[in-house]
Symmetry: C2
Subunit: 351 residues, 2 copies
DNA sequence: ATTAGCACTCAATCACTTCGAGTGCTAACA
DNA sequence: TGTTAGCACTCGAAGTGATTGAGTGCTAAT
């Protein structure tokens, strides 16, 4: 694999990313390799096709890069270490002064990502390991109902109203909460599911209440671990010619609609900074002509979240990567401030 | 306006709803009014066009119903009172056994609505009046941080972690919570925002903590009133020929992406059971060739939510209306059970 | 090794025709 | 007077070549 071949391949990819039109030998010879004639380029292209880096839609059209070509391109890009998160200011611009609610940060991040890249963006809430219960509270809502709040180290399991038997006052609720917290602290929801029946059996009163909590816990366990998902720029996809085919567009849309599957696709584990999956590498037939680029961000307590961009295979990888890098940093920072504001803000403002 | 004209107009609308193809005189004479010849139908159609009920895309095509025609059609439909919620069983089928988390109910409802109608569905959380605070709890998460949970009669204001000064144990947190609840019970968030600084000033300790709560309250106030929004079946729209135009499809999609605007469009106030807005009546240029049908559901404590369906103007109004009716009932029921489960379930399961 | 030249391919475009669904009008009819 | 049959007319959709031009592969010359 010649160095010149590489240059030509790179030129073809760049041009195709820009125009989405099969690129011919003449284009390359005029716009990129002015010292070579189109005939020479043709020969090289022929070789590149044989090597599997180029495809030809039909005999009298130009060439388009194959997934293998993009792979090479991206690997080179990653190896060169040329990904600077130079977009830091423009990213910061998207976060209004002081967002502190997790969900809003995530939504904003997705919006920013999609708007900066022009593709569809997905942001997942941090949550690496299985959540562990930290606190259970029954919060009185009215005389006859209460809200069960289960706090885990991954955040909060959502609201659920349960009915309260007659004669149980807020203080009793608090005591029950304390007992529950003590018994289940550190458990995962599924462990808690197993224990609650035992607890229920041991208690002679308030069994109804406990059963309700058990029900909620089961729901929490089955719900699937992903927290909030931020999605942005879905409509962007329709502006690319590869999605002028309605059938493809519908497939993509319905994939995005089933957030569970989307989360599964985006979620990235392990300690790599970036993942780039091109076309078939995604393993998802619906988006076999898309690429998925993901990156992670980390909070101070080690929980890991994923951000990702989905676009056509002829994606502006270098831009996407640098935006992802920048966004990852921003998010890590934001959540750091938020989660251990005791050490920084608390310390400073103390007294 | 002849009775026969009405029959013919109705036949045209029905056929066009089914096929999305301009319908000609011959079709009507063969499929609907077999006793009349196509020539007669032609005369009648000509009259109907002059009256503004029919449009003609070009001279040698059939006729298509105008917005005015749909209006007449729908008004008749509504007046006839023929909307039976006969789909009750099929709707119930969509709600898995015991969903009790508000957000999931709403999401499921949207999914069910879209799947039953084949259009795009939107479900808004109930929330008529401004929410009133019922309870404030500081839930310990770790030794140095706590979660602030603000419960209102409209549900829960989301999680927000605050730092806890050294030496404040869970019991102290509970006491502070009690004090806060007592002081702010029954307030709206904006009232609470005004009061918190006063409370803070009166306290000699834990001022940091209160300030954090104040910040969260401010965010809650500014957040905008709409709660969770359930959206389903967005991809359905792409399967209708009217959206084969990419530009239109993109417009629609980006409208759906900005949930705030969508909520604004769907939200329905007042005591009418149904609202049908056809084409330009929606007042939203992006969907000037769509219709929006909404209905309300009510919870036992009088809070009102909206469910809606967005589809092409040639929507299957009668089906949509009956599905909406059924879904409205189901939701009203579901939230009734949930909100005052004390009177029904609590009473039953007592002992 | 590179390049100029040439024959060849094939999608895209355009002009042209044909086809048929549909209309409007008129005249005949019950 | 309302209904119908018949006919001329319109116009989009679909089909048919012919033309164009971007692009290739191959060969022979540099």
């Amino acid at each position: 694999m010649d160095e010149r071949k590489l240059r030509i391949l790179r030129a073809i990819i760049d041009d195709y990313i820009l125009t989405a039109v099969p690129v011919g030998s003449r284009t390359i010879s005029r716009k990129y390799e002015t010292s070579l004639s189109s005939a020479t380029i043709r020969n090289e292209m022929s070789d590149l096709e044989e090597l599997g880096y180029l495809d030809q839609p039909h005999v009298s059209a130009g060439r388009i890069p194959s997934a293998k070509a993009y792979r090479l391109y991206v690997d080179q890009l990653l190896a060169s270490g040329a990904i600077r998160s130079d977009t830091e200011e423009s990213i910061r611009h998207y976060f209004s002064s002081h967002l502190r609610q997790m969900e809003r940060v995530i939504d904003e991040a997705a919006k920013a990502l999609s708007s900066l890249t022009g593709y569809t963006a997905v942001v997942l809430e941090p949550g690496g390991h299985e959540p562990r219960i930290r606190n259970i509270q029954l919060v009185s809502v009215s005389s006859r109902s209460a809200l069960v709040v289960i706090v885990t180290d991954a955040g909060l399991i959502r609201d659920h109203v349960v009915s309260v038997p007659r004669g149980v006052d807020p203080d009793t609720l608090y005591m029950i909460s304390q007992a529950l917290t003590e018994a289940l602290m550190g458990c995962t929801p599924s462990e808690a599911c197993d224990r609650i029946p035992i607890l229920t059996a041991r208690m002679e009163q308030n069994t109804d209440l406990l059963r309700s909590v058990g029900g909620l816990m089961t729901e929490a366990r089955d719900k699937g671990s992903h927290g909030h998902i931020g999605i942005g720029g879905v409509s962007n996809m329709l502006s690319y010619p590869e999605y002028s085919d309605m059938e493809k567009a519908r497939n993509f849309l319905s994939l995005v609609e089933t957030r569970d599957r989307l989360a599964q696709i985006i979620r990235q584990r392990g300690d790599v900074a970036f993942t780039v999956r091109i076309g078939p590498e995604t393993g998802v037939p619906e988006i076999s002509d898309c690429s998925v680029v993901t990156a992670t961000y980390t909070t101070s307590n080690g929980r890991q979240g994923t951000i990702g961009v989905i676009g056509p295979t002829r994606m502006q990888y270098s831009r996407v990567l640098s935006v992802l890098a920048g966004m990852g940093q921003q998010l890590s920072q934001l959540f750091d401030q938020q989660e251990d504001s005791n050490s920084t803000k608390g310390g400073g403002a103390r007294e």
